[in-house]
Amino acid sequence: MTTDLIHWLLYGGAMGLIVIGIVGVVTLNNIFRIVLALAIAEAGANLLLVIAGYRFDAIAPILTGSSANQLMVDPVPQAMVLTSIVIGVGIQALALALVVKVYQNYKTLDIGEIHQQLSTDIDNSSGVISLLSSEQPAGERPLPEPSAQHETAQLNQGGDK
């Protein structure tokens, strides 16, 4: 009865970590915090895998000779978690490197601002007038010539550099 309760508590904890991580990634604004939220979600998934192979009355899956007849916990999820922790560390390092690069280029860590600057950059590089521009007047207006559009785009790009 108690082991059952503990089991469910553990599963609930792992699921909770995953949910906390996902909610964090979706709602947080600072990209560094997003990376941390991702790490929490990964920890939750790993914990879930370990719990999947755990048994209360069993020993660690190491053959020592003396205790060969005893029950062992399932070693397969542990091997998998080891792999996925290593992969997770790699991805997090890559994410942090990208955070540094993004900060160097855009001078901000706010995901909303980064998204906006990214859209403007893409629009500029293709010579399309940005749809997200807040200065853009609504309704009818004299649209500039396509060539003029292109020149402003180039000017903007020059300004960015």
Partner: protein, 498 residues
């Protein structure tokens, strides 16, 4: 007999040796990539010719379900041969100085063939992660601020997908206690419960980040507009298909119930609607193509959601067609990257490129004699035969999407053939090198058009083989003792009854 493992091992080895070799000899480093890709192609084609029935190879001599298996059938070997082929076409031959991109491309090739061949869920997860890391590096290879920001958003979405997929894999393990796909197939009845089905949903959404499936494809337009066209072509053409292949394998082996199929159908429909409408609205060629590729992958998903062999053949046909057409179209954006308005006069500047665009566009829309028409026809007949309200809704969505597709693609073509300003027209000139690459895809498309009848038969054969669940299980466990065989014969009887 284990030569096929070289298609994974060789590129991985070369990818990590390349920086070292490049230090001592730059010219040797330049040749090593294409050479490795040719070797990969040789190995997979040799197996492709030899293969009479599917084979499972136990790596390291450990029998399944303990060891990791490679599952070799026509579908996986076809994908394994396409990987080096498309990489050879899109290889950065002009890049003399650096080795970074080559190294990442080789990493991508190795993990991609691992993904295509592997018959073990956790092994698939590892190769998928490797593939992700390589694609992050390639997406950021332009080293502009926009590329870094787009890659970061891609990485976060992909990382979240990985967590979901891993949770799904964990759930499958708790239900069945195995990760071997064939063994999961044997125990599929244990997955027909809420936990098993949510595992499938989690894996679909998780792996679906690469397959550009509906709710998790926000990265697509950003990455494809900031990465170089070659990388976009590779990601849209090849990598998305490999992710779809993983989902299809899982679907065939373990999830034949209506719930899983409905999930794919609904996600596919939403993908079509969102992708095609966004493509229609977009104002530059790169984003138009990225959104259209989301729509096309939605169609692929809808095709695979049709039960049985009809769905499989339609899905494979749509997949292969998109694999040829979309890289060709993306390569066109190398010099036509401006807004659609600026494409005026493009046909005058490089007539061949405009003709190729017309060819790809017509095939993508599905105008008769082109291969795209036959692929869509298979899909439409499949949907009609499935004949439930939901499938008929999908049919309506598909046909209206085709109209939208025709509108925006033809609108672009008309712009190309209209008169443009002289100064701008000069910028639209395509270099011979790019034109050669695009022509390769066009030649493949036309060859497919000419050899349509034998190709169709071959596709039917492949689809029949890969939609056969009992065959997949039997292949892996053929060498085992009778109890498993009994189980397999039981499954066969069950599927006959169904």
């Amino acid at each position: 007999m284990n030569n096929i493992a070289f298609t994974v091992a060789l590129p991985l080895l070369a990818a990590f040796l390349l920086p070292i070799i490049s230090n001592s000899s730059k010219s040797a480093a330049r040749f090593i990539g294409p050479f490795v890709l040719l070797a990969m192609l040789g190995f997979s084609l040799a197996y492709f010719n030899m293969l009479e029935h599917p084979v499972a190879i136990a790596l390291g001599g450990f029998r399944p379900p303990l060891g990791i298996t490679f599952h070799l059938d026509n579908l996986s070997l076809l994908m394994a041969s396409i990987i080096p082929l498309i990489m050879l076409v899109l290889w950065p031959y002009a890049n003399i100085e650096g080795y970074r991109e080559e190294s990442l491309l080789l990493l991508l090739a190795g993990s991609a063939s691992g993904l295509a061949l592997s018959g073990d869920l956790f092994n698939i997860y590892v190769f998928y992660e490797l593939l992700s890391v390589a694609s992050f590096g390639l997406a950021a290879a332009n080293r502009t601020g926009a590329a870094f920001a787009a890659t970061f958003r891609y990485l976060v979405m992909s990382g979240l997908g990985t967590v979901l997929a891993l949770t799904g894999i964990g759930l499958i393990y708790t239900q069945t206690g195995t990760l071997n796909l064939a063994h999961i197939g044997l125990l599929a009845s244990q997955l027909n419960n809420p936990a098993g089905l949510s595992a499938f949903a989690l894996i679909v959404i998780g792996i679906g980040v690469k397959a550009e499936i509906f709710p998790v494809n926000g990265w697509v337009p950003e990455v494809y507009s900031t990465a170089s066209p070659r990388i976009s072509a590779l990601l849209a053409g090849l990598i998305s298909k490999l992710a779809v292949l993983v989902i299809v394998r899982l679907l065939v082996v373990a999830y034949q119930g209506p719930e899983a199929l409905t999930l794919l159908l609904v996600l596919g429909m939403l993908g079509i609607i969102w992708g095609e409408l966004s493509a229609w609205r977009s104002k530059d060629l790169k984003r138009m193509l990225s959104f259209s590729s989301i729509g096309q992958l939605g169609m692929v998903l809808v095709a695979f959601s049709i039960p049985g062999e009809a769905g499989m053949v339609a899905g494979i046909a749509m997949m292969l067609h998109h694999l040829v057409v979309k890289p060709g179209l993306f390569m066109l954006t190398e010099h036509w990257n401006g807004s659609l308005n600026k494409l005026a006069g493009a046909a005058k500047s490089s007539p061949l490129a405009a003709v190729l665009f017309m060819l790809f566009a017509l095939s993508l829309i599905g105008v008769p004699p082109f291969p795209g028409f036959w692929a869509k026809l298979l899909l439409v007949t499949g949907l009609v035969e499935a004949n439930t309200p939901l499938y008929l809704t999908a049919l309506a969505v598909l046909l209206s999407a085709t109209v939208i597709e025709a509108h925006y693609l033809m609108h672009t073509a008309i712009r190309m053939y209209s008169k443009g300003k002289k100064k701008q027209v000069k910028k639209l000139h395509q270099t011979p090198f790019t034109l050669t690459i695009i022509s390769v895809f066009a030649v493949v498309l036309i060859t497919a058009l000419i050899t349509m009848a034998p190709l169709g038969n071959k596709l039917q054969h492949i689809a029949a083989e890969s939609s056969d669940r009992a065959l997949y299980i039997n292949t892996t466990f053929a060498a085992r003792h009778t109890p498993v065989r009994k189980q397999i014969s039981l499954i066969k009887q069950q599927s006959k009854v169904q």
